[in-house]
Amino acid sequence: MKEPIQLKEHIVEIVSDAGEGAQKAGTTFAELCAKSGNGLWTVEIIPSEIQPPPHTVGSASGNRIRLSSRPVTNGGDLTNLVVAFNEMALLSRIQVGALAPDVIVIIDNMWATHADPQICKQYREVLDSLSTQGGQVWELPIDAACAKVTDDSAKGKNMFIVGMLSCLYNKDLEVAKSFVRGIFAKKPPAVIQKNMDLIEAGYVFGMNHFSQTFVVAPVKGLPEQVAMNGNTAIALGSIAAGYELCSMYPITPATSASHELAAFFEDFGGLVHQAEDEIAAVGVAIGSNWAGKPALTITSGPGMALKTEFLGLTVMTETPLVCVNVQRGGPSTGLPTKVEQGDLLNALFASPGDAPKVVMAPSSIEECYHIMPLARKISEEFRALVIVLSDANLATGRQLFARPKVVEDMLTTPLDLSPVEAGAKPFDWDLETGLSQRILPGRPNGMWVATGLNHNEAGKINYLAESNQKGMTMRSRKLAVLQSTLKAPEIFGEAEGDLLIVGWGSTRGAIWEAVERAQAEGLRVSAMNIQFISPLPPGIKAAFQKFKKVMTVELNYCDRMGDPYITEENRRYAQLAIILRANTLVDVDCWGMVPGRPLMPCEVHGVIRQEIQALKTKKGI
């Protein structure tokens, strides 16, 4: 075998029919790479059905792993290497444009001689077309080799592939085996042995068949890292935030956060309540918070739509609540398993009347963890609704980050049930700040009624103009007060230049990586990620004015100039762009798309080059 090729990074995909084990193989291999010190971001490839028809493009399922010799903030560009269980799974990846032109494909050659001539034909066509376009195809007898070790090669292929990839990327076989032994620790010894045999066989298979192998060096000198997906981070972050009740209804892609909590919340003294519907889920959380037990609700877009009326009640009664929306593609049922940032305006404005609330968006999996205690703190100090906008990219991607330090501050705080002073009011608004003290039920002398009707300081229903104006003012004022405590967002790159790219949420990694590349080319471009979208942080307008052009890059729909009928007058902008234009009066442009997958740095890089070129041309004119 030749000397291994040293790579800075590589993007590897494992794809199979749904249920064939590519996801398990992918997560296991990713875990192994993380243990060996690689920077990492994984993306799940998930079909929308549980058991779609096999051997079709719609059945492709698996995992995409970006391995790196430096810390990774996003899923990266095009795929460098694919392990495909069949040609249709491979074809699905070609069709979505995920593969690099010079991609290496490792595919089971059993289809070449399959009994069905149609399959043989389409196998050959897919591979031939790929080779013509520059791809390298390694056709190998994977199933046959696997069948030598196990009676059920369909079931054992996942660990065989892990062994094969361990060889391909020069991972230590013994480390791989001991890691996998850990995964199967609770299984009978025979099962463990079988999996050890499969890994080893896969490794040996690789040694016999690969003429070339790779090394992606580990990242050096980082503090202890954890690897998890964004929904797990939200679940653990909720514990760190001191939540004791998660009230939810099943919805993709939010539910796995609740699965995570359901698995261990009771050990922490908490519980997951699966309500009868989305509306009840938020109602239960509101009732619990109002009564003094910290509760949150976690949902996705369609669930947000159903919760809307209750979210307005939260704002009106000033009951603290954190509502997490793990965004997916919309509108309506949209793309349930895929990423989109389409719910920003819904989060900000969906409500009968004016319901000021806090909207924040984590921009990494690490932030999914740390945002939860912050969100709860804000919700309680400001008696406010806080909507946390995560998305399917964060939810199902996995990233390494510094192990969070556990602090006790927010865990299990005893309730104050002391008598309140006679005449104490439940909305005793401080006229400057709009802030007021909560009076929990059970406190003598404090009896009051929370209502969605307009009410005065005492919580009494009031229909007078003055009272309504005051209530609205007080609820709105709180946002201004919160805004005054926020820091101006960091600018990635120079504070002035030609182009400022503004993003929010999970696209930060891809945008910043693209900006970094463009900066390395000498382009005068910087980036900003906005975590608080309501209230917007201070200093945005001033920062914008230092650039010739400001534009947002978002994973949501916007009209493109030049398309039929689209004019400056009727153009529908991307969602953050609408907000920034309204708030700053700066002519913020936007670039958005809705591919149902995370942005690739190369795409954003392309946009940056084009925009800067356009700026130069304009100047020339």
């Binding site: 309540h273 619990s288 109002w290 299990t412 059970g442």
Partner: protein, 321 residues
């Protein structure tokens, strides 16, 4: 100074003397002759008779005439959304099982827009008395047919008479697993109503009480206008609600075993067709409450232990080799 749970219990056991005023905030703003007045009065008398600390009572309601209830009761209250009282009650019961929870809704509120929550909360068997003030009409929105309106009811959305047979809430409730308490009473029978509320108040679990009442403005003839001729029959049993015929001229008293679900279903099924049953229809105090079930599985952990546990969980995700 925060009150510890021990202080709370001690206070609970001390003697107080509460009068009607201690359960009253302001004069109720319901129409003259509305059944709501009677229901509120019966509840306040029951609370007074039992010397319940007002601060321990939480009254959750939906939207509608009857859902103004908490505003007139001196207690903690949450006047929520149309149809959504029960989810908030579930939240309160999970958060603070020690509070004394009362949920008040109307017929449209509970049986129509809130139908899903009604079915499922019955199944949760949360610890709450649930009063449905049923006047067979939407009143706050000014006379629209409700799920319990009799067929042929003339309303603003059914000017030629309503088209469907009414929903029978008693039969529906009896079809739900974990049902533990169903009673029916009427707002023009103050004695019986108070006795019913008292029995429901003392029940641990979800005590579903349907209170028949008329709407003097939009449905004055509901239930024979609550007159002496109302066709009711009282259910009598040793652990049931004492028979109190009040003004009723001709109301038979029948023996009924509220522990027998089949007997209860027979009584409920006939309610619309012959005489409305009054009293305890079904009773099973053995059904565990949702919070008891859930908290029996939840660990008690202090701050330090919780922090340690979280740290241990993080270790599972550590990639330190």
């Amino acid at each position: 100074m925060s009150l510890t749970i021990d202080d709370f219990v001690q206070k609970e056991e001390s003697t107080c003397s509460y009068g009607m005023d201690d359960y009253t905030t302001e004069a109720a703003r319901w129409c003259k002759g509305c059944g709501g007045h009677g229901a509120l009065g019966a509840l306040q008398r029951m609370l007074r008779d039992n010397q319940v600390h007002p601060e321990e009572v939480v009254c959750v309601s939906g939207i509608g005439c009857s859902s103004r209830f908490p505003h007139y009761l001196r207690a903690y209250g949450f006047h929520t959304l149309h149809g959504r009282a029960l989810p908030v009650s579930v939240g309160v019961s999970l958060a603070r099982p020690e509070l004394k929870l009362l949920t008040v809704m109307g017929d449209g509120d509970c049986f129509s827009i809130g139908g899903n929550h009604w079915l499922h909360t019955l199944r949760y068997n949360i610890n709450s008395m649930v009063m449905v003030l049923d006047n067979e009409i939407y009143a706050l929105t000014k006379k629209q047919v409700s799920p319990t309106s009799r067929i042929g009811t003339v309303s603003n959305t059914s000017p030629r008479g309503s088209y469907l047979e009414p929903l029978n809430p008693l039969s529906v409730a009896l079809g739900i697993s974990n049902i533990s308490f169903i009673a029916q009473t009427a707002s023009w029978l103050p004695g019986h109503m108070q006795a019913t509320l008292e029995k429901a108040w003392k029940h641990k679990g979800l005590a579903f009480v349907r209170i028949l009442q008329r709407c003097p403005v939009f449905m004055p003839n509901a239930f024979q206008g609550g007159s002496v001729d109302f066709p009711g029959k009282f259910l009598e049993s040793p652990e049931g609600i004492p028979v109190d015929k009040g003004i009723l001229r001709d109301a038979p008293v029948v023996a009924h075993d509220p522990r027998n679900i089949n007997a209860a279903q027979a009584v409920a099924a006939n309610s619309h067709m012959e005489k409305e049953p009054l009293g305890l229809i079904y009773y099973n105090p053995e059904v565990p409450t949702y919070s008891d079930i859930r908290y029996s599985k939840v660990a008690t952990v202090d701050r330090k232990a919780k922090a340690k546990l979280l740290d241990d969980y993080l270790t599972r995700y550590s990639v330190e080799s």
